[in-house]
Subunit: 310 residues, 2 copies
């Protein structure tokens, strides 16, 4: 078994696109259930304008209510310096996740400005994070396809990544925001990033819209990318990305990776149960395979340490 | 673009496990719609005992009603010589698909006998196919996991495959009957098969139970396996394999492969539409990603971004 990291994004990506606004106390319970299931890095809120994303209007209250044990890292999504200042002011986060759109069209719809403007603010974001002692992850959104322009140019993505890497983020993620990537594209784009000097650790963010999320995680793993966003119950979507149906489900990703010899340190049954719980609370069906399938018959997951794994 | 073959199994695997028994005329229409969408190899029925699988009781009538154009190959699933004789008697098939279970427990539940007995009948099956001028595919079921025993021993699968290859089938398929395989296992098992002399072309049969089907197709492709079973709408399951929830959806597999440079020759929109049609007829939700996602964005979505950028 080798280690792999799953960043749990259900409290943010999972809840931001649901009609029903989850009460603050239930969000706090969700995070605590995820921690009890072994999650060690959790995106707990999005510091965006409450009128644009009312599901995230209580971001500060959520963070204030969390009691993470040592070793658990909390992160929050920010789209600009104003959101970052809110995130810093909570005093409860370990890192923030700043989003740069790979296309102007998505950027304008999602955050009111295009790629260049988001890149231009990045040095300030880095400076503010440094001053506040927060780690900075940058996520390059719609890196594999855009709800407005369709195909996205890989060289343009690599160029945006180069600009991001110049600002020394602690991590860079490629996001398939609408779930249209296929493994060959994942392989190609992560390989292309390897040409950039000073590359930080990489992370993936895949949606299951066209059922390719786990295939894409597998392809990224094969390229040495061992950090992956996922959402309990497969919840997820973006209010400004039509057709973004569900993140890769944490339990499904963890199952696939563990049976492939990569342990994310999660209690897969408890994650599955947590996904069922939050989906029931929202009144939506789970998009998780494991939630429907139930436990694998007769298997002792921990016993498997490779065998045929390569 | 390189070629790849998708064997459409919706009329057989897709319908055999649904509560509602589809009328013969609708089955025939399903096959004709699939042909119109570009399907060139279709598993149209299962010649099993009608009391055991009432959904397939009209196998002969289905075949009799089909009018495949030149270039379309029809296949039928058989579990024994008696089923094969029924399949031959239709006079309308090009090939048959004989199932050998990788575990005795699944074999006893699925077809009333274990691995050894199914292997022992294989020379007779080959002889009858030769006499009838039918191609013979052999599918090794539960090759990656069994609903009754859990993990399946890869060396035992390879040994069963060796026995099958001895009988010179025209093709050998590995089936993940309950949808528990992960890509590392797919890679390992297909690589292990390569050690067998006289290996025929290989095919995959993946279920989407734990959301790994497309990842597994991708892994098999990387090993040079370019033939894949899939089912329009993601329908599928086995009455004797609890938890086998849905085949890989044809439209999702075809989308992933085409965007990876492998063309199955299908009209993906028409396959998606056919999947929607049969799911509506059955009164079940589609399990296809593409059916929910709609067409990949581009011109259409770009024209209606006004309401989203508020």
């Amino acid at each position: 078994m080798t280690g792999v990291e799953i960043v749990e994004v259900c409290p943010r990506d999972g809840l931001q696109n649901e009609k029903r606004v989850v009460p603050t106390d239930d969000k706090i319970e969700l995070v605590h259930r995820l921690i009890a299931a072994g999650a060690r890095r959790i995106e707990v809120a999005s510091f965006v304008h409450p009128r644009r994303v009312p599901q995230m209007a209580d971001a500060e209250a959520v963070v204030a209510g969390l009691r993470p044990p040592p070793g658990v890292r909390l992160t929050g999504l920010v789209l600009n310096a104003r959101g970052l200042e809110r995130a810093i002011a909570t005093g409860g986060l370990d890192e923030v996740n700043y989003v740069v759109p790979a296309t102007d069209a998505f950027g304008l719809a999602n955050q009111g400005r295009g790629t260049a403007d988001c890149l231009a603010e990045l040095p300030l974001i880095r400076k503010l994070c440094d001053e506040a002692g927060l780690d900075l992850t940058v996520t390059l959104a719609v890196a594999f396809g855009c709800p407005y322009t369709g195909d996205v140019s890989p060289p343009a993505v690599v160029e945006a990544a180069r600009r991001i890497v110049d600002v020394r983020p602690d991590e860079l993620a490629l996001a398939d925001t609408i779930g249209c990537a296929v493994p060959a594209e994942v392989t190609g784009l992560f390989r292309a990033l390897r040409t950039l000097p000073g590359l930080p650790p990489l992370r993936t963010h895949f949606h299951q819209t066209r059922m390719t999320a786990l295939a894409n995680v597998h392809a990224a793993q094969a390229e040495g990318v061992t950090r992956h966003d996922a959402s309990a119950g497969g919840l997820g979507g973006c209010p400004f990305a039509p057709g973004a149906e569900g993140n890769a489900a944490t339990e499904d990703v963890a199952w696939m990776l563990r049976r492939s010899g990569h342990d994310a340190g999660l209690d897969i049954d408890r994650i599955t149960e947590t996904g069922r719980w939050i989906c029931a609370l929202l009144g939506v069906p789970s998009r998780s395979g494991l939630a429907a399938a139930g436990p694998f018959p007769g298997a002792d997951l921990a016993r498997r340490d490779g065998g045929l794994s390569d």
